[in-house]
Symmetry: D3
Subunit: 238 residues, 6 copies
């Protein structure tokens, strides 16, 4: 039995609230249960140095947690003077995931920065950030299309979404919340596209190593969950 | 005529949404029109070094802006490696303002940190942060009282709230929004208590110096606005 | 009775020693009693990025305290790796104050940086820095005029000076020294021009909030003090 | 055909040179072809704060690249003032991987830090670091056993090794070198124990997403490679 | 002919102004011609970690230059976020030099920090800092003796002073000023005690290497200069 | 008797292993006994800002120690966020020493960066780094000559090498190892050219000051040692 009484293959309630930022070209407050992430997509004219005069654009991401998004207050990274390893690791993952469905040539020499700020954390912040960041990005591209800057469907090749799975009390379960995540033996994050292609897999044994069979169960759960997330994304932006 | 069509002494719509954080001992999403600040109050056992074994507590504040809370995306302070001068100045002001109504002896040797994170900015973020931070702090003290840690009314001596005023197009106006703030000749922030005592005054001539008469008009507007904010605070926490 | 036995409206002995730096285009060692601040004005060709090719110049300030300018040795900011919030706050104030009397268009696309380094501190370092920084700036502009770079009187529109006031033992007093500053109930800094216009007001209740009446007394004292400081500035540079 | 003319399931020449450091309790220069990583294991008495007085030990890792270990000289991280995201990500992975085969309770309240410094890079530095770091750690534990500090076989529960795989020119291949890594469509790192348990999986689509079938091929290759690496580790330390 | 018209073995005018700081236990404004360095000695109860409970004390130094102490304004180190290599090198040298004449055991478990801040630079700032820092240190020890904390003559074993020499236009000259220093072929700094012992020698060929004979001339000049500096120190503190 | 049983004028075994880096234009693993330093020379097109469009090149050096190159593990400088004073001091010395034998005009507007990374330390790392760095630099210049970029013998004017000497147990000895260095009364580093010119002298009294006679003995030993090092360099690169 999961602490949340969910079925093994049952995700938390997922919602996307679009247009939450007055200023950003695209924005989305995504909720996976009690995990709430504010995603904004910002269009900028300048691209990283290595792309200057290449005609090609860039999509990047930054990630942060508000100090009291967690059970105990964390030190503010701006105050400690650097972003921690976990933060850098997650924002690199979000950026790679979003770029996997973008045609950077078709975007043209512009940069979209997707900021994912965790307002409240209850496990799965990185998967929520990818899934909600996609909505913000998509809305930013629609904003650009409305101004004849791009053709949105040439830039955005597919959907992308992410979910975590893990082995909790010996059973593979979908979409870990914090209570599960902190005691799971194995924890894996999957990023997949709308067409079912795999973009990223990260699996970690927290205690004992896991087997190929266990990993296959997690991948099966993830595929089901991401398929549902993509449906919800489509509802949200249609 | 103000860009927002407000009267000279008319504040923006103000609202307090309490209990927005699952984790924090007190929390409040405060809105002054399109300025939205998420305030959380976190109780911690440890106090700053100079208070250890003094029997006295501490209230402090931190302030941050999400990168795209503003019209143009700002660089994330965690990524640039330090908090800017404006950030430090504002968080010092919030801390001083909140401490002005707290009996630190009665609090006992504990620290409350009030984090004020700007989700969306449209002028007046520091005054919204003080006014909403008070609600978060008050709720945190109620949380402590419910656990017999303190007597709330002995710790919290009064209300405290803040508002900005300025001279816009030659006329003194209350509660500047961004459109006004960026072109105002003079900009002043006032922090006052529920009983009408002045806690902090900061007035700056952006262009031409201002006169004592002009400053008196601003103070009059501020008194009126803060009096209204305190009423709204009382409604919110009653 | 004030610890220094001064009258309530009596400033400390103020002196300006000009030309103390062999290298700087303008320099002044200003003394407010035992508070000694070395101010240098440096002319530079480059302006901040946002002014490039604007034809407009800039005046900025930096502030620092020598580690043993104070009663207890402070940590050297260069060694701790960052300027503290108080330092940044003060140098921003000095810069704004000096710019309030400069016509940046008439200056042309050049930058003057006024460095204010506290050799010895006894309260009121920021007000001494503004008052002495004006002399250094003025001398730098004379240096430029002597080289036909500007017309000094078109660039420098007025005098600017600053003083602190506070409520000490229940009485409003002018020009707090450290002994008063550290126990004053209320502390306020005023920056005004030679013509009497107000440039900046910063008032803080250290303990109990203060009233409008008390604040009016402080402003009255400040006006008197600054008027005297401007006279002394005129004597110094004539 | 691979650039190196290796078969799809053929690893580069792997060697372990033990005892290369006069000072470290354990050390190993590991070579995967032209990738050379110097691994040292250092025993320290102090453990991280959260383990103090817990009776439990800790194993951690740090990773660095010499500036000219790569084709183009990279900026020295000590000089740029911080470790990049990639560095932090890799050293966290190495630490988790090594801890997966250590009984931290049996280690007792001591810390072993495994430093992995890349002398020359040609792809696969993190997998070489884990595989060679295991040897350094093992030798450090033997050093401790020789001094009756621990029973080595109670602390070290199994072997652990790592290898990368990828899809190069449409074909799954084992142990990517730089020429392959920089153009591979998919890149995956696997960490497994001597008994075949999976400790960590990281798979990334560099261009097009990949399928479950492709991923299964990579896992099969990895299993074969790691099995061979563990044999070589056994030869090295026997 | 030297630019300053000095003889080859002629130092600049040297003066020591003691007691220039109201707060410091010892202080000295030292002038070597136009090079002016403010030295303060601060007594602190805490010693570096490695000396705790050793009964032994420590003497250390910090060095800084005011931004406009030089011909062109330098960036403030507090603002750039770190002390440069030259600064660190010089303050290490000053600390070593002063410690060479102190019996740290006799000092007892206390620390004296000597801050040397260059108000105006014209070559030879490090040698002035050592020579003047000695006076500040000596006065600090007298201050301690007056309070029965130490016996000054047991702590301070000898005098220490420093001077630079160089080969300018092919001739060995004493006490380089900036005009000479910036074009000298060879530049050497010597630190010696009152009894003539050598504490530190640093010689650098700026252009062509130098010979042993040339170096011997520099050492001869230095010996003469330091002997004179020690006489002046004795006059100053007697 | 020296701990290593060496004669007073006997250096440790010195060896140069060239071409140890697959990527660098020049490289050398230099060993002075148990002190092992990996030196690489990297050719870069860009020069420091102040040399742009000057037609002149630059040679610079960076120095680092692997964390466990020493008896006790040191903190990694990349992790502590800055290079320490000793590191900066040494890399400035290496750079100056190498530049003393390079005609920067003949090099042309290019930069060679010599990285010296200490793999294992047993005293004398800076002298080994200079001596081995010369080989790496020389090989880099040969690499450039092979590509008709320069004429090597016009750029490289002479050999340069370095050695430490010290007074150990009252006797002057050559090439201190760590056991001697940590207890020597006086420690001096000498850098000289192949023709016998002196490039740099650094002598420090660790305990008691030293005399001119003692210093002359150290210089005599150094001359002998460096002469031998230059012979070995010639053998290595011929």
């Amino acid at each position: 039995m999961r602490p949340s009484k969910r079925e093994a293959d049952e995700m938390r309630a997922v919602s996307f609230e679009r247009g939450v930022s007055k200023h950003a070209e695209g924005s989305c407050l995504v909720r996976f249960g009690d995990t709430h992430v504010l995603c904004t997509a910002s269009l900028e004219e300048r691209v990283p140095g290595w792309l200057r005069n290449s005609g090609q654009g860039w999509v990047t991401a930054e990630y942060g947690m508000l100090p009291r998004s967690t059970g105990d207050r964390m030190r503010r990274e701006a105050s400690s003077g650097k972003q921690g390893g976990r933060t850098l690791e997650i924002q690199r993952l979000i950026g790679r995931s979003l770029r996997s469905v973008v045609d950077l040539q078709a975007l043209g020499e512009k940069q979209v920065t997707v900021d994912c700020d965790v307002l409240q954390a209850d496990g799965g912040t990185r998967t929520a950030a990818i899934t909600g960041g996609f909505i913000a990005l998509s809305d930013c591209l629609s904003w650009m299309e409305a101004r004849q800057m791009i053709v949105r469907d040439k830039v955005l090749k597919d959907h992308v979404a992410a979910i975590s799975c893990g082995i909790y009390n010996g059973n593979p379960v979908l979409d870990l919340d914090y209570a599960e995540d902190s005691t799971a033996q194995t924890d894996a994050n999957f990023v997949m596209t709308g067409k079912g292609g795999i973009v990223e897999i990260q699996g970690t044994a927290e205690g004992e190593p896991f087997s190929e069979g266990e990993f296959a169960s997690l991948m099966g759960l993830a595929r089901k969950g991401i398929s549902r997330l993509v449906e919800l994304q489509k509802l949200a932006i249609s």
